[in-house]
Symmetry: C2
Subunit: 355 residues, 2 copies
């Protein structure tokens, strides 16, 4: 299920509290961490089980007569709705375009559904809509259907946006976490943690705020560049909620493969690193909204890196590690000082409403 | 835009207050009445203008290589989430299936996105999910992708559900309000006002409550029965928010046609009529969730009526009136006592969160 890849974080990362011991929804159920995984694995997947859903990639791929269609959905509840580098309107368009792009799909159409709270300023709504409009226009994807609901004061929070997207998957494109193999090179298209720290710093009023800017951006061109450089690319993901850690842990756990990454190779802005240290967070756990992770055959690493770096959104791309057969289900990070540590999912990410 | 057909209620039914005089969102913006229409016409349509969206039918139809795909989205914020005759889970599945069905599309796939409020009982969530599961299974449509977000206490209200659906439009099917013609017969598949009054009575604790049951039901089979009986059916709609009045007023206004309906022909349950009288409401303005309105060439009326009545969901179907060239933009109801009155959109439907 889109943005719930942590969902797939199977046995190794399961939740220590049985779901039937929890009586109520907690914020962590929306965090992309273990609680989200448990909710999806124990409640949602069993209810709706079918092959398209069970792939648990960022998008479902449907074989229709004459075409392969990708479909993905996300609701956006980010707080605040206006943040350094973006707002909920463009975030909703980019996020859904990105989930399509990670399946190699070319975006065809979006739906846009609003849940408004009584009293929300119409001027803010106009700003959000204009931002979504501009983002969709830049991508060249039409918003073809929509919906507006209004709830009373105190029953919502300004505006929530759902965008659902469909895209066409070109012939021959076959991306999915099930194709990841030992020996694959893992590349990230740029610095990690920018979006999450921009939101957190803005929310907490941190002094560093000015340097922390969301990376929200549409990744469809960058994804096509990866595929052009390596048509045999195995999988792509955009590491949103739960950060890069959630993406890696999920793939390692689900595919029973080991993953080793180098801390020294991870691109992290100084301001993000500083803010993370201040707040006791690991950039690996912090959400991104304009970065992709590609799993490509080892021999294609240099070509894909070159392709990424030649696009404005991929200039700071890095090869960060490898998939291996040893230590299946475990993600290990080689630290700056030469040690090793296991990368895990946060139990419940300390950052609610990051997207 | 799906469920925002009132949107299309052009000049004749426009809002007396300019949108730039209103500073904030009010509950009426979600009512399916004039305020919703204004929001869509003045803010949303201008932003996203494209042919698929501008048709303003319940679903967009996209021509893809080899197939015609219908797409529709709706968020469900109904309160209470459990009500006589149904709950938000099945309502969300039925509503989106119905918006596809009204375009003659066969449902192919649904997405399901949850916005949960911290503290929402997991047992209630399990009930909602099981109900959505059962509804999707009965229709035979898979839920192929999903999303879960959680907001803090007081920033949501238990659970909001977005369902977006895609469907295949068979060759030769060409339904849309732009095809409605003078001389068309207007048929409704059963009693009106059941859903809205069930919600309202439950919410207000009316004594009649026991007899008031939502009509939530999937209309895909009934829609196919109409098309089988009359392949040249011009348009179908499910009169949800804003009720039958909103559907008729919108088509009359947008297509510059007159509509005349007979109050005596309108099927309304006694309990609904009684509750409406008690609350000062007109059943024409009350939401339905399991009824369709068909616009068919006059000569096909008897065939379509027979087809509707032979399906369990259409046993109480009626031909309720005609489309005419006279009085373009105006819907007139011939009353029981032989008079005539103009049917209008409510300014802001007095029933927030009906779906």
């Amino acid at each position: 299920m889109s943005s719930e890849r942590a969902a797939a974080a199977a046995p190794g990362a399961s939740c220590p509290i049985p779901i039937d011991r929890l009586e109520r929804v907690v914020l962590g159920h929306g965090s992309g961490g273990r609680l989200t995984a448990q909710l999806v694995e124990e409640l949602l997947l069993p209810a709706f089980r079918n092959p398209a859903l069970e792939a648990l990639d960022d998008q479902a791929v449907l074989d229709l007569p004459g075409s392969r269609i990708a479909m993905t959905t996300d609701s956006y509840v980010v707080s605040p709705i206006f943040f350094p580098g973006g707002d909920i309107g463009q975030l909703a368009v980019h996020g859904t375009v990105n989930d399509l792009a990670m399946g190699g799909a070319l975006p065809v159409a979006l739906s846009l559904a609003l849940i408004l709270e009584e009293g929300f300023p119409l001027a803010d709504l106009a700003r959000v809509i204009d931002s979504a409009r501009a983002a969709a226009a830049r991508v060249g994807v039409p918003v073809v259907t929509g919906d507006t609901k209004v709830v009373g004061r105190g029953s919502g929070d300004g505006v929530f946006v759902n965008t659902t997207g469909i895209g066409l998957v070109p012939d021959g494109v076959r991306l999915g976490s099930s194709r990841v193999r030992a020996g694959d090179s893992i590349l990230v298209s740029g610095t990690i943690g920018d979006h999450g720290m921009a939101i957190l710093a803005h929310r907490e009023g941190l002094a560093l705020e000015g340097e922390l800017v969301s990376d929200t951006a549409p990744l469809h061109e960058l994804a096509q560049a990866v595929l052009a450089a390596c048509p045999d690319t195995h999988a792509m993901r955009d590491p949103t909620r739960g950060g890069l850690a959630a993406t890696l842990v999920e793939i390692a756990a689900r595919q029973r493969l080991g993953i080793a990454i180098d801390e020294a190779a991870l691109p992290v802005r100084d301001a993000v690193r500083g803010a993370c240290e201040l707040l006791g967070l690991d950039p690996l756990h912090v959400a991104n909204e304009g970065k992709l992770v590609a799993f490509v055959p080892g021999e294609a690493e240099a070509d894909v890196l070159r392709a990424l770096r030649s696009h404005p959104l991929g200039r700071e791309a890095q090869a960060i590690g490898r998939v291996r057969a040893e230590h299946p289900g475990v993600v290990v990070q080689r630290t700056w000082i030469g040690g090793e540590r296991v990368v895990d999912l946060p139990f419940a990410e300390p950052m609610p409403r990051i997207c």
